[in-house]
């Protein structure tokens, strides 16, 4: 497709960055935006201030709704850039057809921008822990990959009591990881250190093993007896948190889970992945106890002005309309908890994900947290009902490199089980969704 838009040079773009009305759109894969150098560019990441809008999304019929949801304004100037002219031109033309009046393109990102260390770039601090399907494919087929220096890795297909999900098709070489291996089915908290050590050893995971986790999103339905069984990728984040807590040094998530692997056109298999147990985990478990917070610490956080207990729950749960779970009776929130809006219900994380299940642009997540006072200078402990959603939010904060982040493991399940703990319901004042105070 011919690119009919005006092209800007590196010098021109450098000048345009001073215009506060300028909007920059990066159409490369989101993993490149986060920091991976997919074309061997001198510096990884994106132009400072750019928004991610991968060209892949231009094939979605609802592309323009994604654009609108990101707040990309048709009334302001727009510069689109990518790795190659075809993707850049295609997306720029779509913008033009959708009524965006001032759309320009930039075609010197790799050779012009990345190569000049004086030009501003930004990247997700721990981008290496959020991997692309191409990276994983390379690791699986060659045993090596960029930003991997280990000599041993384990790939885990996470699910909750749903081995059929694994048997239906998994990434070749992946082992079956039921979240129940790592979580107690009584409390839904992490298992004891001794149990974790044993399970990890059986999975072939030592403290210096690289672990890559993913799951399948297969439309959890709250009316199912076990909705979590369909929220496999959410389960992967839960397992990632527990492994980090246990002391595994290199824990990574496949960005977008199985969906990304399939979108990349890679095959799945029904052949069982071989486990290669290790003799010793190799370090004291837990290796990072500070990542988990229990009830006494949660209460201390509530009393502190230097910490947040972040409720990664849906609005109906937060205001006490629903408990969110078929096995939790009480409705409401922990008084003083901050609203960390997960999305629609206990098994969905729409506000932390893109529509293809990749992790949402980290600037957007940071901005939504900032609005409710969740900032990196504080200790932020994330919780939900039993820890899954809290773990995904935690993982996002950890990817950002925030120094004091943890999961309040017991969550609403533990808090509401003790009749001595206070419960709040209704819309708080001010309303955390808008900041508005009741009149």
């Amino acid at each position: 497709m011919a690119d009919a838009t005006t092209r800007v040079s590196t010098d021109e773009l450098r000048g345009l960055l001073d215009d506060p009305r300028l909007q920059l759109v990066d159409v490369r894969p989101i993993d490149a935006y986060n920091g991976w150098r997919l074309r061997g560019e001198a510096r990884g990441g994106h132009i400072g201030g750019a928004r991610t809008l991968p060209a892949k999304w231009a094939d979605y019929v609802d592309w323009i709704e994604i654009v609108r949801a990101k707040g990309i304004d048709p009334g302001r100037p727009l510069v689109v850039y990518g790795y190659d002219s075809e993707d850049t031109g295609r997306v720029a033309e779509l913008f033009g057809r959708a009524g965006y009046g001032d759309v320009r393109t930039y075609h010197e990102f790799v050779d012009g921008w990345c190569a000049d260390a004086t030009l501003p770039m930004d990247r997700l601090p721990r981008y290496t822990q959020l991997v692309s399907p191409g990276w994983l494919k390379q690791l699986l087929t060659t045993g090596t990959a960029p930003e991997y220096s280990g000599d041993r890795f384990v790939l885990c297909h996470a699910h909750y009591r749903n081995r059929g999900d694994y048997e239906k098709g998994h990434i070749p070489g992946a082992v079956d990881l039921d979240t129940n291996f790592l979580e107690s089915p009584e409390t839904w908290n992490r298992r004891s250190p001794a149990e974790l050590e044993k399970v990890l050893e059986a999975l072939g995971i030592a403290e210096d093993t690289t672990v890559v986790l993913y799951g399948r999103f297969s439309f959890p339905d709250n009316l199912d007896p076990y909705p979590g069984s369909a929220a496999g990728h959410l389960g992967a984040f839960r397992c990632a948190f527990i492994m980090l807590y246990a002391g595994v040094k290199d824990v990574r998530i496949l960005n977008g889970g199985l969906q990304s692997w399939l979108d990349a056109g890679f095959e799945v298999t029904t052949d069982e992945g071989a486990r290669h147990p290790v003799e010793e985990f190799g370090a004291q478990v837990p290796g990072a106890p500070e990542l988990a917070v229990d009830l006494p610490e949660a209460k201390a956080i509530l009393a502190s002005d230097d910490a947040n207990l972040v409720s990664v729950r849906s609005w109906p749960e937060y205001i006490g309309e629903v408990s969110g779970y078929n096995y939790i009776e009480k409705k409401g929130r922990i008084p003083g908890s901050v609203y960390g809006d997960c999305g629609s219900d206990a098994y969905h994380m729409e506000n932390y994900r893109n529509l293809d299940h990749t992790t949402r642009e980290y600037h957007e997540i940071e901005a939504s947290w900032r609005r409710v006072g969740v900032t990196p200078d504080k200790h932020n402990a994330f919780y939900c009902g039993t820890g899954w959603r809290g773990s995904e939010a935690f993982f996002n904060a950890w990817l950002l490199g925030w120094p004091r982040v943890s999961v309040y493991d017991g969550g609403w399940f533990e808090w509401s089980n003790d009749p001595g703990n206070p419960i709040e319901t209704g819309v708080p004042d001010p309303d955390p969704r808008t900041g508005a105070t009741a009149v």
Binding site: V61, D62, R353, L355
Partner: protein, 142 residues
Amino acid sequence: MSSGERISPAAVQDEIIAEMSGLEDWLAKYEYLVARGRELRTPGDGIRTEENAIAGCQSSVWIRAELRDGRVRLAADSDAMITRGIIALLLRVLDGRAPGVVAGTELYFLDRTGLRTHLSPARANGLAAMVRKIRTYAEEWT
């Protein structure tokens, strides 16, 4: 053909496929869906209940199915225009049919128009949930 009968679900699906095949690209198809969404008549009588809600859709969706005179009568609502458009197409094919027809109709237009594969995955999952809900009702009445 009696007054209560209409063209077959397959014929309706073929009509939709023909209408969409003439559209240049996905932006044009989006506009087609939005236009269908605007045409969707939604009941004003409290359809937005928890019972009618489709859980976990990217946008809020409510679908109500009733059995009247041996036919499945469907009503739906959503704030998102594209979702309304998809619902409008589903209703065009399935509304007013016998339960056995609703339960047994293969919705091949979703594949042949490319809608199933060209919806973003989260919305495609929502579409699957809508279809599942309609079929569940129809199967109960079959």
